[in-house]
Amino acid sequence: MRRVAPGRLSSIGAPDDGEDAFESQSAVGRWKGTDVATVTRATFFTRLRTRGLSREQLGYLLVTPALVLVAATILVPMVQTILLSMQTVRLNLPNLPRGFNNFANFQQLLADPVFWSGLSVSALLVLANVVVCISVGMVVALILNESFFGRGVVRAAMLIPWAMPGVVIATLWRFMFNDQYGVVNDIILRLGLVSSYQNILGGPWALPGVMVAMIWRSTPFTTFLILAGLQTIPPELYEAAKIDGASGWKRFWHVTLPMVRSSLMIAVIFRSLDAFREFDILYNLTVGGPGVTTQNLALYTYKTYFAFLNFGYGATLALAMMLISAVVVFFYVRLIGLQLSSRGEG
């Protein structure tokens, strides 16, 4: 790693400050260029050892930078969000008096129809995503768990939606959903589902349209999670069930499903959290329109912050999002935490 970083520095062309900082702060010295890779590392670690840092101390030392970064970027803003949510702060009215505003933002939240519609859009997106991604993902995972000609191709193809930027997915579907030259209209017209071209993203079908794009992107990841679970099932279980004369369906119901239950749980939690925080696709596909029919809480929070510059109320919305996520995270951490602690002991 260290060999990479300074090299990159010099190739970027302004290494001077960085190296000065190294020299002045590092008692080891000569952390320059290739020296780092060859000489310094060895002496540094040897000294470290001879000076006898206990394993525990070393552990804290290694963990600290990561914790500091995460705390500074995630934890501190969380606390700030809580503080902001109790004040009236508008960046476009800088002279407003600051200070505790008697939970006015929370009263506003409860009476705000856009918040409630945002919450229901978020809930619908989560629900549709979880149900469709998990069920389609299950089928696809079962298929991918078999070996067949072209399995690698299918699996690689599944990675395409996962690897694409959300912006690209949104523009792609926006063009496919176009009310005049979109291919989706062409398909549904040919299938006889509609009698004329529909304005999908501008009408009542906007939310299902958004769901399709989100599901298209998320199903692969869900599939791989389930697949990972499937692959842990020992083949002997199936053999045993077969000997007992269980049909394919029964084998699925009594062997497969119980064995992948924990993967499914985790997939549900992942999907819920991902769908709940969805922003890229919505922002680029419909911007929440028409009306507020596709505006979820994330988009509304973003707008309140950066279009209306209402940082007090924006923080209140953000806090609501945090609390909702926290509930889901809590279950997840418990689920994973159990596995962690059991492994820690064992």
């Binding site: 260290r2 970027i12 290494p15 930078p65 856009v114 707008k303």
Partner: protein
């Protein structure tokens, strides 16, 4: 003991410090160097971009101004760059770097600009702002704009559209230099009306009757407004209810947006699509200029747009060259009023700019008559300088533009401005949300207006028109 723990402490500091220093060094090295980009800026810009921060700007030192045009792309942006290029050629100590704005409508532009301003990002010196959508009413009290009384004294202000000067003035100081005089125009296919033996409609109701007689969707629509969730929707709706002698509030600031007149206006917007079927459902999602394309493709009899659409209708891409007429925005029945919505864009200087003098010099130059007239010709956006409409000036335009500019100027003097409120952006969004819900059939017009009234009440509590 102490010495050991001391050494330990130092060692910890060394490693921690080293890591932090490494991170710091990496971060320091990645400060953007716009000049280094081989694809964009020529070498001359290179030094300029980084120089001002380092040394106090001497008079002959080259400075680079960050400039946000109204245009987000295409030939208009290119032409705008050429226009500014003339100024740069005359002022060798000033370079201009165009800052790209997001596409998608005036509101997204607004949102982009306020994040720049609230970050006190000094890389943006000059911007073109939507005076009609009350950006100056938000930006000036927020302290983001530099007063420009020194380059725009009263005698110069008198040459510019008075309503725009009014919108640009706050607490006795002027903050924005108007360059585009934009008002709503009702475009009419006079050739089709003649063929059908119809007159240009004076009221909305006549417009509906004429449209129903002439429309053959999807090849020929009656009326194309813009109902996309953007400021455009609010503008269209305001014209409906203004023409019905109604408004968001009465003179005392009492909320009247759920009055029967406004409800009728919203219902009218719905009926155009749902009942009369003279307007395509797609207008709910069409960009302003996509609607304009339907009209200039010859697929609609009537169209509501701004001044620029005239020039588009006369250009090579249009299939209706010479077949269009401008008319007053219809009134609401015999007792209604012809009202057009005041739009318009102005130049402002960012208060966090480090190059205010040069910035003012540039916008002052852009605000002069010849530059405004030149911009009119390449963009189709009519100028805010009133001398651009004198007989001498009109004589300099091509005939098809001359024919439009005179009457347009007269109409524009009567334009009505939107509520001058620092949170107009948010208020407008409330109107759009509820109106679109009504247009989609999720709510009745009455329910939508009641919801608007409820949500707008906090904004209008201490506000008077």
């Amino acid at each position: 003991m102490t010495s050991i723990s001391g050494r330990r402490f130092r060692r910890r500091a060394i490693l921690g410090g080293g890591l932090m220093a490494a991170a710091g060094a990496l971060l320091a090295a990645c400060a953007p160097a716009p000049a280094a980009s081989p694809t964009t800026a020529p070498k001359a810009d290179t030094g300029a971009a980084s120089a001002p921060a380092a040394k106090p700007a001497a008079s002959k030192e080259v400075v680079t101004l960050g400039f946000a045009s109204q245009y987000t792309g295409g030939t208009q942006l290119e032409d705008d760059k050429k226009l500014v290029g003339k100024f740069v050629a005359e002022n060798p100590n000033i370079k201009v770097q165009f800052v790209e704005r997001p596409a998608g409508g005036a509101q997204q532009n607004h949102d982009w600009q306020v994040t720049v301003y609230s970050a006190k990002d000094s890389s943006l010196d000059i911007a073109s702002v939507d005076t009609g959508a009350q950006w100056p009413a938000e930006f000036a009290p927020a302290g983001w704009l530099e007063p420009i009384d020194d380059i725009l004294p009263k005698n110069k202000q008198e040459k510019l559209m008075p309503q725009m000067i009014y919108q640009a003035t706050h607490a006795g100081k002027i903050y924005a230099l108007p360059w585009m005089n934009d008002v709503g125009v009702f475009y009419v296919r006079k050739d089709l009306l003649e063929q059908a033996g119809k007159k240009t409609p004076v009221t909305w109701q006549e417009m509906v009757e004429t449209s129903k007689a002439m429309a053959k969707p999807p090849d020929m629509w009656g009326y194309i407004p813009c109902y996309r969730k953007d400021e455009q929707l609010t503008c269209n709706l305001q014209e409906y209810w203004w023409s019905n002698n109604a408004d968001m509030t009465d003179k005392d600031g009492k909320v009247t947006i759920n009055s029967p007149e406004v409800v009728d206006a919203i219902q009218f917007a719905i009926d155009l699509v749902k009942t009369h079927k003279i307007t395509p459902e797609g207008v709910n999602n069409l960009l302003l200029d996509e609607g304009r394309q339907i009209f200039t493709e010859g697929k609609a009899v009537f169209h509501r747009n701004w001044g620029y659409a005239w020039q588009r209708a006369q250009s090579g891409e249009s299939k209706i060259v010479g077949k269009v007429e401008m008319a007053k925005i219809p009134k609401w029945g015999p007792n209604g009023t012809h009202v057009t919505n005041l739009g318009g864009w102005s130049y402002v200087v960012h208060s966090a700019s480090k190059k205010k003098d040069e910035s003012k010099k540039l916008i002052s130059w852009l605000g002069e008559l010849p530059q405004q007239m030149e911009k009119y010709l390449f963009s189709g956006n009519p100028p805010a300088h009133m001398d651009a409409y004198t007989p001498e000036s009109l004589a300099k335009y091509p005939p098809e533009i001359r024919a439009f500019a005179g009457p347009y100027f007269e109409v524009s003097k009567t334009a009505k401005s939107r509520p001058r409120h620092p949170q107009y952006r948010e208020m407008s969004e409330i109107i759009q949300n509820e109106a679109q819900a009504a247009i989609l059939g999720q709510k009745t017009a009455k329910a939508a207006c009641d919801a608007m009234a409820q949500q707008l009440a906090p904004f209008l509590k201490d506000w008077k028109p």
